[in-house]
């Protein structure tokens, strides 16, 4: 091949796991090297953003953006890469759905700063110094990115071509994406339709090898994972461990349930579903504490059954809060009642 294509990889609000995941494809990385030159990859080598900004538009073939949009820098780089790239891939759960950083949408900038720079036991900040976007020191003016109140997904700030969920995306999915791009570049094979999710369209349960009760399914009570040793063959949900599998997209090979850990939903909602949380709430509520004398149960006892689910928001939206319909928590003007 005459000229190598250019690829970029950037991290927004993420943990770096996605960057490492790209290396997990082992020898396949040589295929990438054969056709591509990495022009920007902050975790891999020292590149300068202004070099990217000075490149002609659409000169990068593929950009992999991982991490959510947490501050103005994340957003700026996302926009630059979008402008310079032919294909923009939302890589990993944080970019696609907000991921773990997205859970910060239950709070806001002020509360986050208060906790991090004041309240934590290990913080010694008597002067109450808080990060500022601009601060003057004797050497000149320093600038920090602006921290947002609300964590956003990548597709909220730029147009995204493909979504690759997973925390991080698994090796086979990355290999699939790399292959698709390589085939396209070398042989002209058409790419998947824009907006495609590089994963399966089925639910995780479809891939899971555990046996589930097919008829008369019900969950007696909820157990926290540490409370019981689950039967290694039976469905975790049937055993009372909350597994988000029924509301989660397949494609990861159900690695967690197969390793005795319940699914936490990093692959996001299944095709056609907007709310992974609502979907899981629906699935779990239909099974929990069903008895043969339902008509006689009081509303109060129903509430007590459901209160076994300790933290529905944190459990059902562990990876998708910024992508949910409500996106973040709100504040009632008047003092509100509580359920419990």
């Amino acid at each position: 091949m005459a000229e190598k294509i250019k690829i970029a990889q950037y991290w927004g609000a993420g943990c770096g796991g996605c960057d490492v995941a790209l290396l997990d494809i082992d020898a396949k990385i040589l295929d990438v090297h054969a056709i591509a030159e990495v022009v920007f990859w902050p975790i891999g080598f020292d590149g300068k953003l202004h070099d990217i900004e000075n490149m002609p538009d659409k000169s990068i073939t593929v950009s992999f953006y991982n991490g959510a949009i947490r501050n103005s820098e994340n957003e700026h780089v996302a926009k630059v890469l979008r402008q310079k790239s032919v294909i923009m891939i939302s890589f990993g759960s944080c970019a696609c759905y907000g991921g773990t950083p997205g859970l910060a949408n239950v709070t806001n900038k002020q509360e986050v700063f208060q906790t991090v720079y004041k309240d934590t036991q290990s913080t010694d900040n008597a002067a109450g110094v808080m990060p500022l976007t601009h601060s003057k020191v004797k050497e000149g003016e320093l600038e920090l990115p602006e921290f947002y109140d609300t964590v956003k997904t990548l597709d909220e700030v730029v147009d995204v071509d493909y979504f690759m969920p997973g925390c991080p995306p698994t090796v086979n999915l990355i290999a699939m994406a790399v292959d698709a791009v390589a085939q396209h570049v070398t042989k002209g094979t058409p790419l998947p339709p824009k907006g495609a999710v590089i994963a399966s369209d089925k639910t995780l349960c479809d891939e899971c090898k555990r046996e589930r009760v097919e008829k008369g399914r019900k969950i007696e009570r909820i157990y926290q994972a540490y409370e019981i040793t689950p039967d290694p063959k039976k469905c975790l949900l049937d055993q009372g461990i909350i597994c988000i599998g029924p509301a989660t997209r397949a494609g990861c090979g159900a690695m967690c349930p197969n390793a005795q850990m319940p699914c936490r939903g990093c692959m996001g909602p299944t095709k056609g579903v907007m709310e992974q949380g609502a979907s899981m709430l629906s699935a779990l509520s239909s099974l929990l504490g069903m008895t043969d004398s339902e008509a006689g149960l009081s509303e109060e006892s129903i509430m007590n059954i459901m209160l076994q689910v300790k933290d529905p928001l944190g459990t059902f939206y562990a990876f998708t809060l910024p992508k949910s319909l409500l996106k973040r928590t709100v504040t009632e003007k008047k003092k509100k009642k509580t359920v419990t």
Binding site: V106, V273, M274, E275, G277, A278, S279, L281, S282, L284, S285, S286, L288, G289, M290, E294, A295, L297, E299, I302, M303, I305, M306, L307, V309, D311, P312, L313, F316, S324, L325, L326, T329, V330, T331, E332, K333, K334, K336, K337, T338, V339, T340
Partner: protein, 155 residues
């Protein structure tokens, strides 16, 4: 309840409510009981505050929690789900699922920052036109007291 009394009790809206606040309330009615109950309330000319819109579903269990989230996202001030009484579901056990979901939905909505009273579940049979009227009046009053949804009027 007479026309005047119904409107008065709804428009007063409890203490501290905005006098001019016209809430937007979404009501899901199941096809077999509650929609017929609402219909009965209508043909009986029972007077109700006019701030609600009814969506008919085949069963109250057809009300996906996602529908409720979408209603609140779109700015609904309150959502009422009405279904058949326990032991009366046309599909045997749909309403048992519904009440579990609604219980957990209340906890979830509370975590999202909403007052859980913005979501209400009520059993209304085909013969209970008056209960439908009473429920609508009560719920409208509750919502008037709570005020505009925090999705639009809050922070």
């Amino acid at each position: 309840m007479s026309t005047d009394a119904a409107h008065k009790s709804a428009s007063q809206g409890g203490n501290g409510g905005d006098e001019h606040f016209e809430p937007r309330i979404l009501v899901f009615c199941c096809n077999w009981c509650s929609y017929a109950g609402a219909d009965l309330a209508g043909v009986s000319r029972l007077q109700m505050p006019p701030y609600f819109r009814v969506i008919r579903t085949m069963c109250s269990a057809r009300v996906d929690p996602e529908f409720i989230m979408r209603a609140f996202q779109k700015g609904a001030d309150g959502v009422l789900v009405a279904g058949c009484h326990p032991a009366d579901c046309h599909y045997i056990g749909g309403n048992y699922r519904t009440r579990r979901r609604m219980a957990l939905m209340k906890v979830l909505l509370q975590q999202f920052g909403f007052d859980p009273d913005r979501l209400r579940l009520e059993w209304v049979s085909a013969g209970e036109g008056e209960k439908f009227q009473k429920t609508i009046i009560e719920f409208t009053n509750t919502i008037k007291e709570l005020g505009v949804s925090p999705m639009k009027g809050g922070e």
